[in-house]
Amino acid sequence: MVGALVRAHGAGLACPDWPLCFGQLIPEIDLKVGFEFGHRVMAGGVSLALVALAVFVLRNAELRARYRVPLAAVFAILGVQIVLGGLTVLLGSLAAEPRLARLALIDAGAAGPAAQRRYRAALQRMTPFFDEGRDFAPGGRRLPANTSRMAIGAVIGLVSDEIDAGRADRLPGLLPEVLFAAMVPYLGPAAAAEEAGKK
């Protein structure tokens, strides 16, 4: 719900950096920063509480046997929420600034070898974010080392295609497909389509 409020107020990038906000632990608060900062505090708190709960459950053999499956399901839901939140902000920002979107995703790749290397390196910085999916995938540890790069390639392929065709304004409508592309290497088509279909 807090995530929906952030989205409705266009506050996803009100804090331009992460994990700090404007380089501060507690930033100056206005309406948008308040929504985004409050969202981070709450999401961080829930995540920490879940990690503490998981540690508690996994250290006790009886609890572990009984609650392992529901615990994995809760972490799966959390992972989907994180990916969904990040991609919603990304697509919204690109749609709001089509010229910036073109500069970031098309022109950067067209500006010679040095720019291309930087562009690819910037994309690779997103790999840990995508690789969270391994924890929720059946047999996630056995997936290829390049799985996150594949997910990024699939997302960038979809988004670049729209931007290069001058359809950046339609990007938010593409969210279910982008979400499917990000999750399918980890979850498979049935589960990824189900998650994407909820949006």
Partner: protein, 200 residues
């Protein structure tokens, strides 16, 4: 005589692909191309308006050649899965044997302007049309409209990184991963990993 003229034009087109692949599109001049082709400047301008016009023609021919080779190698295969595996294997072999062609086809085309990029997208669409047969494999979920664009994006991202790093010759080692990337949206990670192990 007509054959000779066609052969000079062909030599220029082949040279354009090679030079752009080794020097980069921006750094390539008409002088470089005619030197590589062993033709005169007059011959070049008899056939093409300028470097860009020549590049677009050369790119179209490159796509036709690669597409014909891929289709010829995979059309004999019975199942969709075998056709996709064979097609990807052929593409990777061509790229590994001709690194300059690969760099021109995947990396330098992005530098050569909007019309060149459009040709690239069109070429990708021709290859991905072959993937759409995979929709019928998975009777369960309704797959997204742009699923083949995702699969192509995943594969071309991996290939792009290898080419930018100058590792075209090592692309065949990446074939299992590329296969996984291409198949996973259609058949899921478990079955795609199985195909990957078969290819390794």
């Amino acid at each position: 005589m007509a054959d000779q003229i066609e052969s000079r034009r062909d030599r220029i087109l082949v040279a354009m692909i090679r030079v752009v692949g080794s020097k980069g599109y921006d750094a390539t001049s008409v002088a470089d191309v005619i030197e590589e082709a062993g033709t005169s400047r007059t011959t070049f301008y008899k056939h093409f308006d300028d470097k860009h016009d020549c590049f677009l023609t050369a790119y179209d021919r490159l796509v036709e050649r690669v597409f014909a080779a891929v289709v010829a190698n995979c059309d004999g295969e019975k199942s969709w899965l075998d056709r996709v595996c064979k097609g990807l294997e052929t593409l990777v072999e061509i790229f590994a044997l001709e690194p300059e062609l690969a760099r021109t086809a995947v990396v330098e085309v992005a530098v050569a302007g909007a019309d060149a990029r459009q040709r690239h997208w069109d070429a990708v669409a021709r290859f991905t049309a072959y993937l759409d047969g995979g929709r019928r494999l998975n009777g369960g979920p309704e797959l997204p409209e742009h699923i083949s664009t995702m699969a192509a994006g995943a594969v071309s991202g991996l290939i792009f990184d290898e080419l930018v790093a100058g590792r075209a010759e090592q692309l065949p080692e990446l074939l299992p991963d590329l296969l996984f990337a291409l198949l996973v949206p259609y058949i899921g990670p478990t079955a795609a990993a199985e195909e990957m192990r078969r290819a390794a």
